[in-house]
């Protein structure tokens, strides 16, 4: 039986609960909540997840302060709304990530999800995002299959897929008149490594039809020991060795390969190698042809032009905060957040200035174009859901005076030169000799 005291306590609790429920709801119109998912632990954390999160956190703080960035990003937050971020560790596999995604959307009630480095996660999340009608940005993963094999209403990828990286490498070789009588590869034995090698081979077969394909090695992910593979490459003497390895695998391979002089016998070309420069320093040999999956890192810093002010602002802030320069991962996070800001503000301009719904956000994002430190990002593929962006390849050179690694002989590629056109799968584009490529 309820006493008077418990009734009063119950009424007070209900009041407190109601107040508690009302307060965040009222606050929600003033804030835009993003769920960020990236690797905070595991092997991809050090190379991609942590630098991306560092860069994202930095940019969100700068946007929330307002006036820290050049126009059009000088306004506070997203359309005047303060940005709030919930970060989730991507480690644990696709099944766990699907559950984390549901938590973010249904419990945390985020307004947008920005995430996913792993291609496996990028393939698992989109069907769930569409089921929940939750606006989602894939900011990093490389597999072309996300939109080439499917279509999604609420899912967008703000970075170009991996075909661009390897086409750019092949174009770089060609533009520098590099003689390639033969080539070999050493790539990690999972989808990323296999797909990268297939793309590189496809591009080479068009640009260097007479080049002989030598051994294609696929040591398992996290192998650590590459002695036998390096012997095989030294014996075969290919003119160049392609690798899309990343993180500890790339660092280990480079340490062991350079100690045995592989880089002197064959030209090393690395599809995504910029992110190991801060760790390796002058242990990264000179003369390596290297990409950063976009005009990112050192290539962006060397570019100048109209985006110099924006790039310099982010570069300087990142260096000051983290005591190292930003490599590719923060650049991809920045282009996602700048794209999200542009989409939110466009949707608000269309709906009279209120916080946009997922549907309004998706409509605003479709086919959108915006500037980022990595260049002009255009949602030009997959019906406006998949970005294309310019790319750059350069050659490593250690500057003994500054004690820093530089990229020299950098070549910049128009987005439409190194990405397939709308409606065409990457594999078909490569097989047909890059139809529709605009390289001038």
């Amino acid at each position: 039986m309820m006493t008077r005291k418990t009734r009063i306590a119950g009424a007070l609790s209900a009041l407190a609960l109601t107040a508690g429920l009302v307060t965040p709801a009222a606050a929600q119109d003033d804030t835009f909540k993003i769920g960020v998912i990236t690797f905070l632990s595991g092997q991809a954390a050090e190379s991609f997840g942590v630098p991306a999160w560092n860069g994202g956190k930095l940019l969100v703080d700068m946007l929330n302060e307002g006036g820290k960035l050049p126009a059009p990003y000088d306004t506070m937050g997203f359309g005047g709304m303060k940005i709030e971020v919930v970060v989730v560790d991507e480690a644990g596999g696709a099944t766990k990530q699907v559950q984390e995604f549901r938590n973010l959307v249904q419990r945390e009630e985020v307004d947008a999800v920005v995430g996913y480095v792993s291609s496996g996660d990028c393939l698992a999340i989109p069907p769930v995002a569409d089921e929940l009608k939750a606006f989602t940005i894939l900011y990093d993963c490389g597999t072309p299959r996300v939109f080439e094999d499917n279509s999604f209403e609420y899912v967008f990828r703000t970075a170009a897929h991996a075909t661009m990286d390897n086409v750019s490498l092949a174009r770089y070789l060609k533009s520098r008149d590099f003689d390639v009588p033969s080539f070999a590869g050493l790539n990690q034995d999972y989808a990323w490594g296999q797909d990268s090698w297939a793309d590189f081979k496809g591009a080479m077969s068009q640009l260097y039809p007479d080049a002989e394909e030598k051994t294609a090695l696929f040591p398992k992910f996290g192998a650590g020991q590459y002695g036998t593979e390096i012997s095989a490459l030294l014996r075969e003497k290919p003119a160049l060795v392609h690798s899309s390895n990343w993180g500890g695998d790339l660092q280990g391979f480079l340490i062991q390969a350079t100690a045995r002089g592989l880089h002197k016998r064959s030209q090393l070309v690395l599809a995504a190698g910029d992110h190991v420069i801060p760790q390796l320093g002058n242990k990264m040999p000179d003369g390596i042809f290297l990409g950063a999956r976009g005009v990112n890192g050192l290539a962006a810093n060397a570019r100048g032009g109209e985006l110099k002010e924006l790039t310099d602002t982010m570069w300087t802030a990142y260096e000051a905060e983290f005591d190292t320069f930003p490599v590719q991962a923060p650049f991809r996070m920045w282009q996602a957040i700048f794209g999200l800001k542009t989409a939110v503000e466009k949707a608000m301009a269309d709906n009279g200035g209120t916080k946009p719904t997922d549907e309004q956000l998706a409509a605003a994002m479709k086919g959108l174009a915006w500037d980022a430190p990595s260049g002009r990002i255009e949602m030009a593929l997959a019906g406006g859901h998949q970005a294309i962006q310019p790319n750059a390849i350069g050659t490593t050179k250690w500057n003994t005076e500054t004690g820093k690694m530089e990229l020299v002989d950098v070549e910049y590629y128009n987005a439409r030169c190194v990405n397939p056109p709308e409606g065409m799968k990457s594999a078909d584009w490569l097989a047909q000799g890059f139809p529709g490529a605009q390289c001038d």
Binding site: V50, F218, G224, R235
Partner: protein, 300 residues
């Protein structure tokens, strides 16, 4: 350089490294009858400890005598064995002696997971590098190929480790006591052998060998989280081929895995992973207990 010779050299280098890691695993199983999944973590901690100590050595002016970094690497392995050996064996594993082998596998797997997180707490997720010891010994030209002198030093270390373990077990009084415990711990105890001390010593020796494997590997890789996972799987393949608990078996198993893997990388790279487990399967078809394990009566 002749292809066969290249395969043999590459295989020997890989086998040398693999033997150092595997012999500790087989020793612990032989004495304690525990399949220690946490062996992979001890390997990784050895790599981290080596990277930290060697880094500290050079930071403290070790450039004047860089070869001292090799002593730092061995000290790192000793440190891991002295700290973690008693902690794991006395603090946990002794409570599971005589229990089901599957339970012991689960317990050591739990330790493996815990140690993975402990490593992140201590060393973070950023990589550690200590290249200096890797290039100190220069390169060796063999035909048209260059090898790093350090790789041959690892082979030498494996031979020293193998001989030391074999001689200790077969030519010393302590070794004979250990063999007695392996044969029958209960009877050994009734004969006055301090079995607890033998268990502790064997586990510490196993931990030292795992950590030494990691310490020797650290200069040629970037030491990052998750390092121990792949290693323990291949080490298991080696000890299963050689026979659980057999030191010569670990040596032969490491050689078989090393050379067959090298042959595959040179001749049929697509089968690199397959070949290790194919060799293991073939051995098990003909010798289900492994090449060197003694056939035991099955309890019914």
């Amino acid at each position: 350089m002749d292809l066969v010779a290249t395969i043999l050299v590459d295989g020997l280098i890989y086998a040398g490294w693999l033997f150092i890691v595997s012999v500790g695993l087989t020793l612990v199983f032989g004495v304690l009858n525990i399949l220690n999944i946490a062996h992979g973590s001890l390997y990784a901690i050895g790599a981290y400890a080596s990277a930290s100590l060697v880094g500290a050595y050079f930071a403290a002016g070790g450039d004047a005598f860089p070869y001292g970094s090799y002593i730092a690497m061995i000290l790192a392995a000793v440190l891991v064995a002295v700290v973690l050996g008693p902690l794991l064996e006395r603090g946990l594993l002794r409570y599971f002696y005589g229990r089901d082998e599957v339970l012991n596998v689960l317990v050591t797997y739990a330790v493996f997971l815990i140690l993975e997180d402990v490593m992140k707490l201590i060393w973070g997720v950023n990589p550690y590098f200590v290249y200096e010891p890797y290039t100190l010994l220069g390169t060796v030209e063999m035909g048209s190929l260059f090898y790093v002198g350090y790789d041959f030093a690892v082979i030498a270390a494996a031979i020293i480790v193998g001989l030391a373990v074999w001689l200790t077990l077969n030519r010393t009084q302590t070794g004979k006591v250990v063999l007695a415990v392996i044969h029958d711990a209960e009877i050994s105890q009734t004969m006055g052998v301090n079995v607890k001390r033998i268990y502790l010593g064997a586990f510490m020796a196993g931990a030292f060998l795992a950590a030494l494997g990691g310490a020797l590997t650290a200069p040629m890789i970037s030491v990052t989280p998750g390092l121990g996972v792949n290693v323990v799987i291949v080490a298991f393949a080696v000890v299963i081929i050689g026979g659980l608990g057999s030191v010569p078996g670990a040596a032969i198993g490491a050689l078989m895995v090393g050379i067959s893997r090298a042959a595959s990388v040179h001749l049929l790279p697509e089968a690199e992973l397959f070949i290790i487990y194919f060799v293991m399967a073939i051995v098990l078809v003909f010798r289900p207990e492994g090449l060197f394990a003694k056939t035991q009566a099955r309890k019914i």
